[in-house]
């Protein structure tokens, strides 16, 4: 059980979840694992906020959930991006890119 090395900036959790779901439908556990791995174990989803975030995204209509079966033949709830979710992801990615660029610009300036 590794401790988070980086704190997740406010509002980025939704973006990460949407991104993690953009390739294929996944259940909650896999979402958290995927983000953990892809980030080189630098990011850990605070477990308490994962499910509320998923439900919130579902309510907003960006992802939808259905029960399915995992590769180990276990029943799990799978989330997938909706069309509106994809649009949202694209928009948030652009915004994030701009934000990072802008913050970097400020920080590089001596």
């Amino acid at each position: 059980m590794s401790k988070p090395r980086l704190d997740l900036p406010q509002g980025t959790l939704d973006l990460l979840i949407l991104k993690a779901l953009s390739l294929e439908a996944q259940h909650g556990w896999a979402v958290s694992q995927r983000i953990h791995q892809i980030s080189g174990e630098a990011l850990t989803i605070p477990q308490g906020s994962l499910y509320p975030a998923l439900y919130r995204l579902e309510r907003q209509g960006w992802i939808k959930a259905k029960w399915g079966v995992t590769t180990e033949n276990r029943r799990a709830r799978f989330y997938e991006l909706t069309a509106r979710g994809r649009t949202q992801l694209a928009a948030e990615q652009t915004a994030w890119g701009q934000l990072v660029a802008a913050v970097g610009l400020v920080l590089r300036t001596e």
């Binding site: 556990w29 499910y51 509320p52 029960w67």
Partner: protein, 909 residues
């Protein structure tokens, strides 16, 4: 945007409806997550049980997460509302006593407030029951002395054709017009309307039709009756249309009946019947010299004269300002005259609430008293809320541990606070509905208690469940609920958990909470002092008014109105009938004496004011000396009980063309003769209206002052003259009869005697002086009784509030008192310990209240009569009363405190 909202709502509702399966699904999902995490740990070499525990710990509080997830679902607020309501209903059922108190006191407070609100709304603010009343306007002529709405027919025509901004219609009225069906004869106010009138006003017929332009053009003998008048003329007969009624002897056929709700556009609006203006000529003409009082058929058709006899009413559908200026400029061109250097103008007056400023428009007189009473009622409501709030504070402290436990188990403060507020909703709603029903009941009783003279106003006041009233009821109920529950809820959830959970947390928390409850009680007491003081001053006013002598006899006096309009005597007037009627009535057994005059105190008649020129009297600037003129006959003063202080009564020598003898009242002497003996003095009086020319008159007597309109009025100069010396045309004169025994018992025989002296004359409205006095004091009585009612309620509520606070503090300090008793404190010391609180609560309350009372009675000075607004007696009385109430309210808990058994008290917690 809206689609998103709908989708969101649908999601929430789905989640709410399928809440159980969603919760199960959530639990399963979370379990799945924890299982995966545990498996991962096992693969990393951890033992199974250890791994499962570690995974659960890492996952965090499942319940908190579920709460957060429910938040995310958005079902929480809906879901909680449902649960709160269920909980509140369960609590209400569980504590019927408490809920009953809340509902009952709220119902009382709201009932009283809504009763007054309903009266106020109906009298002052309710729009006419016509389509789009806000479009109704009345053109008024602006002249130097004021506004009036009379126009000549030529002016009416010019204004009507010129005004493109709206449609206008003309009408006029006439009083005491005889309308008969068979033997039944009624004297009514008749309307004469042009063909557009009903369509402009927007009134339709309930049965038949209303008057059309065709009726007017054809001078058709048709009449439209009001619902009430049709009922009166044809009792129990609904097939009225097509029947024939006789108006001043001419047959008119009924073409329609207006709905019950139609009162006409005047305020307060007692529409009775209308005929086309064009049909005026059918009514016949009246004797010459009869233009006093505006009888339309006096000289035939006034559309042919320049007499200003017509009213206009208009409907402006858009832009009233444009209509106003268009009409004003038309008026300036066609009609405006210059009088005393001032040019006349024209204004459009908003008439959505009935044409203002009419003879019977009493709104300005009642506006202030109603506002005052409404304020008082709202204060009572505030006291009610204070009381419930302090009850809730006490109850919340009893539930402190429950609340503390729930807070420490993770319930959020907002959640718990909202629930504490929601708990009161069922009782509050019952209180609101109860208040509405109570108001309906009170209004019914109030309308029935009005003097019969006010019958027509009663119709105006009737209780209706209109949307405004319902909205105000709902708003007030909600406002009260919030007012009495928000603070206790905030307080209850702000407990320091540790002390609240401690079993003996009394000492640490009783102070802050007690302070609030005490503040509430102090506010109650202050408000009560204001209400009691005001009620005292108003009651003293009523007593003073009722005690006013008035300058006339009030016992065994019968009064009857006698008129000649629309009778065979119309041409000759009442004058030739004065002696025959008076003499004939005096022959009725049991009648001591009878007399007639043009005006009788508190009963009415003709109001005349004439100019006088008194030698030696220097008039103030802008003052022209005037006096009220009353014509009467010899013996009047003895019969009416008005003393002749100097000189003599009229006698048989005061007749004909000789210099008229006059009797003046004391106020006349004070003002115009500087209180010097006026007997034998002569002066010029403007008697041309009744005698043909100004005449010198000679003072033969001085009579005592009499109040004519109201018992509160200050006596004004009055000039009495004998009928025998003013041969003018008087249309009516009331009869005053002194009887041996209850006056109304003689009413029928007196009315019969009048008919035998003058068959077919219009004699009605038999009343006695005591009734007239009651009618005259009715407004004072109403206001005083309402004020007393309010202050009694406030007193009771304060007593309950005081009792609550003292009882609460005794219960809180049980162990302290026990210790004191155990250490040897005497009964007296304990009594003082407890009563000290009452003393300072009442003390602070009455000090604040007294200061407020000074302001309140100053603001209400105009409502007082014979009492000094600064008179401290009432305030002192109020203070004494409150002190007594305070002692009574606190004695019970105080005595209970002395009986505390130290052993039990110390073991209590």
């Amino acid at each position: 945007m809206f689609r998103d909202f709908l989708a969101d709502l649908a999601y929430r509702l789905r989640a709410l409806v399928s809440r159980n399966s969603a919760e199960r699904s959530m639990a399963e999902e979370m379990q799945f997550h924890v299982d995966r995490a545990a498996e991962r740990l096992i693969t990393e070499g951890m033992k199974r049980e250890e791994a499962q525990r570690a995974a659960r710990v890492a996952f965090g509080g499942v319940e908190q997460m579920k709460e957060a997830a429910r938040d995310a679902w958005g079902t929480r607020s809906l879901d909680q509302l449902r649960r709160d309501v269920t909980y509140a209903l369960r609590l209400t059922r569980k504590q019927p006593g408490f809920s009953t108190i809340v509902a009952l006191s709220l119902a009382l407070g709201l009932g009283a407030t809504l009763t007054v609100f309903n009266l106020t709304y109906n009298v002052l603010y309710a729009p006419l029951a016509l389509p789009h009343p806000e479009q109704l306007v009345v053109p008024m002529r602006i002249t130097k002395p004021g506004r009036d709405r009379m126009f000549s027919w030529a002016e009416v025509q010019s204004l009507r054709t010129a005004s493109r901004a709206g449609v206008f219609a003309a009408s006029r009225g006439a009083s005491s017009v005889a309308v008969s069906v068979g033997e039944r004869r009624e004297f009514i106010n008749l309307h004469f309307v042009d063909g557009d009138y009903f369509s402009v006003v927007g009134a339709r017929a309930l049965r038949g039709r209303v008057i059309s332009p065709h009726d007017d053009a054809a001078s058709a003998p048709v009449v439209v009756l009001s619902y009430a008048f049709a009922e009166q003329l044809f009792p129990g007969d609904s097939a009225v249309v097509g029947r024939i009624v006789s108006i001043r002897g001419a047959p008119f056929s009924v073409i329609g009946v207006t709905p019950k709700s139609y009162r006409g556009v005047e305020y307060p609006g007692w529409f009775t019947a209308a005929i086309p203006i064009g049909s005026v000529s059918l009514l016949g003409t009246q004797g010459a010299g009869s233009d006093n009082g505006g009888i339309p058929y006096g000289r035939g058709d006034d559309r042919l004269t320049d007499l200003r006899a017509f009213n206009l009413i208009g409907r402006v559908t858009d832009n009233p300002d444009a209509a106003r200026s268009a009409l004003a400029s038309t008026f300036a061109q066609c009609c405006a005259r210059t009088l005393d250097g001032e040019r006349e103008g024209l204004d459009l007056v908003d008439s959505r609430r009935g044409v203002p400023g009419g003879k019977n428009d009493f709104r300005n007189q009642v506006r202030f008293p109603l506002a005052m009473i409404l304020t008082g009622m709202v204060l009572v409501l505030v006291v009610v809320c204070c009381n419930i709030a302090s009850l809730l504070l006490v109850r919340a402290s009893a539930r402190q541990r429950e609340i503390a436990v729930r807070l420490s188990l993770g319930a959020s403060r907002g959640r718990l606070g909202w629930q504490l507020i929601a708990e009161n909703m069922p009782a509050a709603m019952i209180g609101g509905v109860g208040g509405l029903l109570l108001a309906a009941w009170c209004t019914g009783g109030f309308v029935r208690s009005l003097p019969s003279d006010w019958g027509q106003i009663g119709g105006l006041l009737n209780f209706t469940y209109n949307p405004v009233l319902l909205a105000v009821t709902a708003g007030l109920t909600l406002a009260c609920t919030l007012a009495f529950s928000v603070y206790p809820a905030l307080r209850a959830t702000r407990q320091p958990l540790a002390s609240a959970l401690r079993l003996d947390g009394h000492a640490s928390r009783s102070r802050g909470q007690g302070m609030t409850a005490r503040g509430v009680v102090i506010a109650q007491i202050a408000v009560t002092v204001v209400l009691v003081t005001t009620a005292g001053l108003l009651s003293a006013t009523l007593l003073n008014v009722a005690r006013v002598d008035g300058g006339f006899a009030s016992d065994q006096v019968l009064l009857v109105g006698i008129g000649t309009r629309s009778t065979t005597y119309e041409r000759q007037g009442i004058l030739p009938l004065v002696e025959p009627i008076s003499r004939r009535v005096e022959q009725v057994p049991g009648v001591r004496s009878a007399t007639m005059a043009t005006l009788l105190p508190l009963y009415g008649g003709n109001t005349f004011f004439i100019d006088v020129e008194i030698p030696g009297y220097v008039a103030a600037k802008d003052e022209s000396p005037v006096t009220r003129l009353i014509a009467t006959r010899p013996g009047y003063f003895a019969t009416s009980g008005t003393p002749i202080r100097l000189g003599r009564d009229f006698d048989a020598t005061d007749v004909g063309a000789a210099q008229p003898a006059v009797i003046v009242n004391a106020a006349f002497v004070r003002r115009y003769f500087s209180d010097r003996d006026p007997l034998g003095r002569t002066f010029r009086a403007e008697l041309s209206g009744v005698r043909g020319e100004p005449t010198f008159v000679r003072v033969v007597g001085v009579a005592g002052d009499v109040t004519y309109q109201s018992l509160k009025e200050r006596p004004e100069p009055v000039l009495y003259i004998s009928f025998a010396q003013v041969p003018g045309h008087w249309r009516d004169a009331p009869l005053l009869v002194r009887t041996n025994g209850p006056p109304l018992r003689f009413a029928q025989t007196v009315l019969k005697a009048i008919q035998s002296a003058a068959p077919g004359i219009d004699a009605r409205r038999a009343s006695d002086m005591q009734t007239q006095r009651d009618v005259a004091t009715t407004p004072d009585r109403l206001i005083a009784s309402l004020a007393v009612f309010m202050s009694v309620m406030a007193l009771l509520l304060s007593a309950v509030g005081l009792y609550g606070v003292v009882a609460y503090s005794v219960s809180r300090r049980t162990s302290e008192i026990g210790i004191r008793l155990a250490l040897g404190a005497g009964t007296r010391a304990v009594l003082w310990l407890v009563s000290r609180e009452t003393v300072w609560l009442v003390g602070v309350g009455v000090i604040i209240g007294s200061v407020l009372s000074v302001g309140a009675s100053k603001a209400m000075r105009s409502q007082f009569f014979g009492v000094d607004a600064h008179d401290p007696t009432m305030t002192i009385g109020a203070i004494v009363l409150l002190a007594a109430v305070g002692i009574m309210a606190s004695s019970l808990p105080a005595l209970r405190a002395t009986r505390i058994d130290p052993k039990i008290a110390l073991n209590a917690d």
